[in-house]
């Protein structure tokens, strides 16, 4: 079955395309992109003016919580949130219960993903058994089972030695090692960014240096081993400085920034709702200079990807004292509106760069298909409605958890439709003209 997406603005940076083109989908593959493509027996979907057709977005950092924490999220609810948020694929972190440190857990996650049959799921395996930081996990078997990277996310890899070994070993397969960068001794039992806000609120703080130390460690070991080192959820300006320096000297380092870290600062801990546990995440919301550095890194190309660190937590788990609440917020369904509003409409970047950050680069970093509309590529397509006025409603999120600090926010830009393998799995009911998808 062929379908022709006709007349939309197509942004496909991998092929240098930005202009009005047709996209021909044949089954689950892209068949062609070009001007005034012949019908060739395809059904036609006229893309309404103002919408933008992009290669499918890939969120390379989500917590799907299954197996073991299905009260927070499941593969099914998480991938439903993904497609509603414009993501055709997600990479899920291994800190489930049990930890995804062996092929059986990987297979279980992939079986759940096949059952849900929504966004593609790329499991990320653990660096160490149980993510305990002692023995390496069965990395080769994880890879054979379908893992695309390894990490002990939630925590940094316990020792420099283990991180080195993981890099050397994963380097055999060209797998990136993704690191939650943090010096544990400097972090202590901190719950917020160290600075004026934490001092005012009486919360224990961790400085940006706590993250940057982990970034520096990883870059040095990446230089030593030649392995690909990826910095997860970067938030501190000192970390960005280290990444820039690493790239300058040719180290294989890449990094991602989460929408909350380019949008919010630690002032959100004090207002509008003081001690709102939906402003508690790790790394924490930092001061304005750090937030501004993340924006600058996104604008100048130093930042490779936008990833949400989608971290669902149940209402009961968050409805406690700030100290006791778990770290993290959901992000799959707010990432695109925040990115369009705060980056594109703010004049910081243009759409092709946004597509690089959300599609081209995540695919390249994880070495997974997608990130392009080249003929033969999977028909994974995200259609944006950059001018759509979006109001975030926590209660209406598809994610099983509603822990977002953006409830009630009004943002310019949203998702029009999400197509995975040629199937339109999400069409925004607020828009007309896309029913034929």
């Amino acid at each position: 079955m062929k379908r022709l997406l006709k007349g939309g603005r197509v942004v496909d940076p991998a092929n240098g395309i930005d202009g009005v083109h047709d996209v021909l989908i044949d089954g689950d593959r892209i068949a062609a992109v070009g001007r005034d493509l012949p019908l060739d027996g395809a059904s036609v979907v006229e893309i309404p003016a103002g919408l933008v057709v992009c290669p499918g977005f890939i969120d390379m950092h989500v917590h799907l919580r299954e197996p073991g924490q299905e009260h927070k999220e499941t593969v099914a609810t998480g991938t439903a949130a993904a497609v509603a948020g414009g993501f055709t694929a997600v990479a899920c972190m291994p800190n489930t219960a049990p930890v995804n440190d062996n092929a059986n857990v990987t297979a279980y996650i992939l079986a759940k993903a096949a059952e849900a049959n929504l966004a593609r799921v790329y499991p990320i395996g653990a660096v160490s058994r149980g993510s305990k930081g002692e023995l390496l996990a069965d990395i080769a078997e994880l890879r054979q089972a379908g893992c695309v990277a390894i990490t002990d996310d939630g925590h940094p890899v316990a020792t420099a030695l283990l991180l080195r070994r993981a890099m050397e070993y994963a380097g055999m397969f060209g797998m990136p090692v993704i690191e939650h960068c943090e010096d544990g001794s400097l972090k202590g039992d901190a719950v917020a960014h160290e600075g004026y806000q934490a001092a005012t609120l009486g919360l224990r703080g961790m400085p940006g240096a706590c993250e940057a130390l982990g970034v520096e460690r990883g870059i040095l070991l990446s230089e030593l081993t030649g392995a690909h080192f990826h910095v997860a959820h970067m938030s501190a300006r000192a970390s960005l400085r280290a990444v820039r320096k690493g790239k300058e000297i040719g180290v294989g380092v890449t990094c991602e920034v989460a929408p909350h870290h380019f949008t919010l600062t630690d002032e959100a801990l004090a207002s509008p709702v003081p001690y709102d546990t939906n402003t508690k995440m790790n790394p924490p919301l930092r001061e304005a200079a750090d937030r501004d550095a993340m924006l600058a890194g996104i604008a100048d190309g130093s930042v490779d990807a936008i990833a949400t660190d989608h971290a669902p937590h149940h209402y009961d788990e968050k409805n406690v004292e700030f100290d006791r609440a778990p770290f993290g917020i959901v992000g799959l369904e707010t990432a695109v509106p925040l990115s369009l509003d705060r980056l594109v409409h703010a004049g910081l970047i243009r759409l092709p760069r946004l597509v690089e950050l959300l599609s081209v680069n995540p695919a390249r970093i994880l070495r997974v298909p997608g990130g392009t509309l080249s003929p033969g590529a999977p028909a994974d397509v995200t259609i944006l409605a950059p001018e759509l006025e979006v109001r975030v409603e926590a209660a209406a999120l598809r994610s099983r958890s509603k822990n977002t600090p953006f409830d009630g926010w009004e943002l310019r830009g949203g998702v029009a439709a999400t197509i995975v393998g040629g199937r339109a799995l999400f069409v925004n009911p607020a828009l007309t003209g896309l029913q034929g998808l």
Binding site: G188, E194, G195, Y196, A199, T200, L201, G202, L203, G205, P207, V273, P274, Y275, D316, N319, V320, E321, F322, D323, R324
Partner: protein
């Protein structure tokens, strides 16, 4: 350490009090209070202090009101001070000490609050180790232990505030609070009108905040020798409990400049004032 530019009394010379009641049902921190409200509390505290000097130390201001002292961490001094204040105002007082272990067992703070609320207390005094815990509760709240209350209060009332100690014990960004920071005790002591020593939490030793209590006392402890550099009418304060021979020498603590025990007495009066005002009391009304 502070050098008051204007005392609250001076600020009000010849003027009627700007506010006569606290139009709020809870008090979660000093930062949210206006200078007028602080002056009202202090004025009211003076009247309350007089109650404590009577043979029968009791007024009916909170008769029929139920006050729950909900303490999630042990604090005999604070609880005692509140309890005495409540009893002098004739409130019915209930003390609940919740060991943190029982929280681990199940009930959340939010549920504890809902359960208490269902029993219709008139006021709740909360002490909790988690900053912001009060914001989780609904109903009448009184007490939030926010770290920088002193600085907020003193700068708000016009004092010139210095903080002195090793950098490991001074929060980063402290100067954004409008205070000056130094690690030179002599510099801090000179020209100070009031020297307030803060308790060294002995458990901090484990966090390597300073090498030893002995060294701390040698470098930062308030001794008679250091005090000689201060103004002749300097006042020595300490919120208690004291570590004698750590942050303060006994000769200073018990010496002629010390108002430390008066602080304890005033603490009761201020608590009476706050409870009275939060319950809807108004200024300059005879407490009795």
């Amino acid at each position: 350490m502070s050098a008051p530019a204007r005392t609250p009394d001076e600020m009000r010379v010849g003027a009627a009090p700007a506010v006569t009641a606290l139009r709020r049902k809870d008090l979660l921190g000093i930062a949210e209070l206006s200078t007028d409200e602080i002056a009202l509390i202090l004025d009211t505290a003076e009247a309350m202090k007089e109650v404590g000097e009577r043979p029968i130390k009791k007024v009916p201001a909170l008769r029929g009101k139920t006050v729950v002292n909900l303490f999630f961490e042990p604090s005999t001094r604070t609880r005692t001070s509140f309890e005495i204040a409540e009893k002098r105002l004739s409130a019915d007082t209930l003390n609940i000490a919740v060991a943190s272990s029982s929280v681990v067992k199940g009930e959340t703070l939010a549920d504890t609050a809902l359960n208490l609320e269902a029993m219709r207390p008139d006021m709740i005094v909360l002490r909790h180790s988690s900053s912001g815990a009060c914001h989780l509760l609904s109903g009448d709240l009184l007490h939030s232990r926010v770290l920088r209350s002193n600085i907020h209060l003193l700068t708000k009332m016009g004092s010139d505030v210095w903080v002195c100690g090793p950098p490991t014990l001074i929060p980063t960004d402290i100067t954004r609070f409008g205070v000056r920071a130094t690690s030179d005790v002599d510099e801090a002591v000179a020209d100070a009108d009031v020297i307030m020593l803060l308790r060294i939490q002995l458990e901090r030793m484990e966090g390597a905040f300073f090498p030893s209590l002995r060294e701390y006392f040698n470098v930062f402890g308030m001794t008679e020798a250091r005090l000689r550099r201060a103004k002749p009418d300097v006042m020595i304060m300490h919120p208690g409990p004291m570590n004698r021979g750590v942050e303060i020498a006994s000769e200073v603590a018990d010496g002629p400049y010390s108002v430390i025990l008066e602080q304890v007495a005033n603490g009761v009066a201020v608590r009476m004032a706050v409870l009275y005002l939060l319950a809807g009391g108004v200024a300059h009304e005879e407490a009795a």
